[in-house]
């Protein structure tokens, strides 16, 4: 109804005239019904010209030559005469016009009120988010301070107190990761919805590509976060400590197993050419070989560590060369986590190269949904009571 408003809220001549006509009706109603609502025009920019409209009769009545621009004036003029007649005859109420004008007024009022409410809610949401960020920042600073203190007091190295340090989650790098992961998951859900919506409508490949690239980039963000966190605590990453136990059951070196990803996604894809099928098979084979190699490297790490532990002299000091060399071996776990994530990233990119844009989008959606369901199952399991028989 209000489409004749120009984008900057101003009215062109036609708009002005139509508005004027409506304003006249309303002014007439105001004369009949003793309401003063309409006189305050400040909240409704649309009705600014009303001051001029009351002069209409005097200005335009009968002196304008009929042409396309002003034909409406004469029409409205005629109508105005009719209405004025009605107005003077107080026994008759132009019921239809009364209701139309009133409903228009109500609709406009309602919409403006909704806008105000939405804006208010948005401001409150923003305020709450900023406050949450502030408190998180403070908490992070606090944790870092505690970590420094603990380090100085030598609480984190050696002896029984090492466990206390770990359980207390004094590691600020990990605390930061957990918070970021929460945000990452929320963003991931949003992107899954976007993929779902986009796949239901016919969309150009160019736009699909943008979305696919965006989703891939989001996974790369996760791998970057994990790389930073693995410097803080590689074991936390390897065991997926931020995940539910059901998810941990499927973990391979801190994340999904690329060859398994391919098995999950393939049944969801349609219309693959023979060449595509062959390339996917090759990819899966290469993934398996790479996974085997990294797994064997991890096994070798366990063996050398076991050997190292048996040769540790009882009561060796924290800084003895044996302990130091063993600790260095433990550090190499970090590089395994990084290579595993690197393999995941390469596999995702290669899949999106082999597949068409639409297939890739479908594949990414299937992948995203799989993990959403897995996480949901994990949460359900964690929350449900155990049966003891």
């Amino acid at each position: 109804m209000w489409e004749f408003c120009q984008t900057d809220g101003s009215l062109d001549l036609f708009g002005w005239l139509v508005t004027a006509r409506i304003s006249i009706f309303i002014e007439v109603i105001d004369m009949i019904t003793p309401t003063t609502q309409f006189t305050s025009t400040s909240t409704m920019g649309v009705y600014e010209p009303i001051h001029q409209i009351s002069m209409w009769d005097d200005t335009f009545g009968g002196t304008i030559s009929p042409n396309t621009d002003v034909c409406i004036i004469t029409q409205a003029d005629a109508k105005l005469d009719d209405k004025c007649e009605y107005a003077s005859d107080r026994s008759l109420e132009p019921a239809e016009d009364n209701q139309t004008a009133k409903s228009i007024r109500d609709k406009v009022q309602r919409r403006l009120a909704q806008n105000r409410e939405a804006a208010r809610k948005s401001r409150l949401r923003k305020k709450a988010y900023v406050q949450q960020l502030e408190t998180s920042r403070l908490k992070l600073a606090q944790l870092e301070l505690e970590l420094e203190r603990a380090r100085h007091q030598g609480l984190l190295i050696g002896g029984a107190t090492a466990n206390m340090g770990l359980c207390g989650n004094v590691n600020s790098g990990i605390a930061a990761f957990e918070m970021e992961y929460g945000h990452w998951m929320e963003e991931q859900q949003r992107k899954n919805s976007d993929l779902r919506n986009v796949l239901q409508s016919p969309i150009a490949d160019v736009e699909l590509r943008l979305l696919v690239e965006d989703v891939l980039e989001h996974y790369c963000n996760l791998f970057r976060m994990k790389r930073d966190a693995s410097r803080a605590d590689a074991f936390y990453l390897v065991f997926g400590m931020w995940r539910t136990p059901v998810e941990q059951f499927f973990l391979w070196i801190g994340g999904f197993q690329p060859s398994e990803l391919i098995s999950v996604v393939m049944p969801q894809l349609e219309n693959l050419t023979d060449q595509q099928l062959a390339e996917v098979r090759n990819l899966q084979h290469s993934c398996q070989q790479a996974e085997d190699a990294l797994s064997q490297g991890m096994e070798k790490l366990r063996q050398t560590l076991a050997q190292s532990i048996t040769t540790l002299a009882a009561g060796a000091g924290s800084y003895s060369s044996q302990v130091v060399s063993t600790m260095e071996k433990l550090e190499s776990l970090e590089s395994f986590v990084q290579q595993a994530d690197h393999l995941r990233e390469q596999t995702l990119r290669r899949m999106s190269c082999i597949l068409t844009m639409r297939q890739a989008a479908k594949g990414l959606l299937a992948f995203g949904e799989y993990f959403q369901r897995l996480r949901a199952l994990g949460s359900l399991w964690a929350a449900s009571p155990r049966k003891f028989t």
Binding site: E279, N282, L283, S286, C287, Q289, A290, D292, A293, L294, Q296, G297, M298, K300, L301, T304, K329, S332, S335, F336, Q338, Q339, H342, L343, Q346, T347, R350, C353
Partner: protein, 129 residues
């Protein structure tokens, strides 16, 4: 997989002072070693990532030539330093195929996933069919 131990010192002149560096140009030495065989891996016996990369090539049916730098008392350290200069970060594992540098584990994995590793190996004569 075959390990080179003594033969790679055969082109060095024997010197009386064992503490002085035997290799005048470590990078050229590395290049020479790399071009001697189809697949050359510079490794360390204690490094688990090196173990992983060896298993990867063996799993593909390749027979790489491995130089364990920690088992070479003479030039091991020199080569290790040169590799750090070459690679920027860690020294091992480093892979050469057909005399050309491929890189560390991440480059090898990336090239395997995008399908360029197998053709490279075939070209160097390390893989048949």
């Amino acid at each position: 997989m075959h390990y080179q131990t003594e033969s790679w010192n055969s082109d060095h002149k024997p010197t009386k002072s064992s503490s002085s560096s035997v290799i005048t140009d470590p990078l050229a030495h590395i290049e020479r070693l790399a071009s001697d065989n189809a697949v050359v891996i510079f490794s360390m016996s204690t490094c688990c990532m090196c173990h992983a990369i060896k298993r990867l090539f063996c799993g593909m049916g390749v027979n790489p030539t491995v130089y364990e730098l920690d088992e070479d008392p003479i030039s091991g350290k020199e080569i290790e330093k040169a590799l750090i200069l070459l690679m920027g970060v860690s020294s091992v594992p480093v892979v050469f195929i057909g005399g050309k540098l491929v890189g560390a584990m991440d480059r090898v994995l990336a090239s395997h996933i995008n399908g360029t590793l197998v053709p490279l190996l075939k070209q160097a004569g390390a893989l048949w069919l």
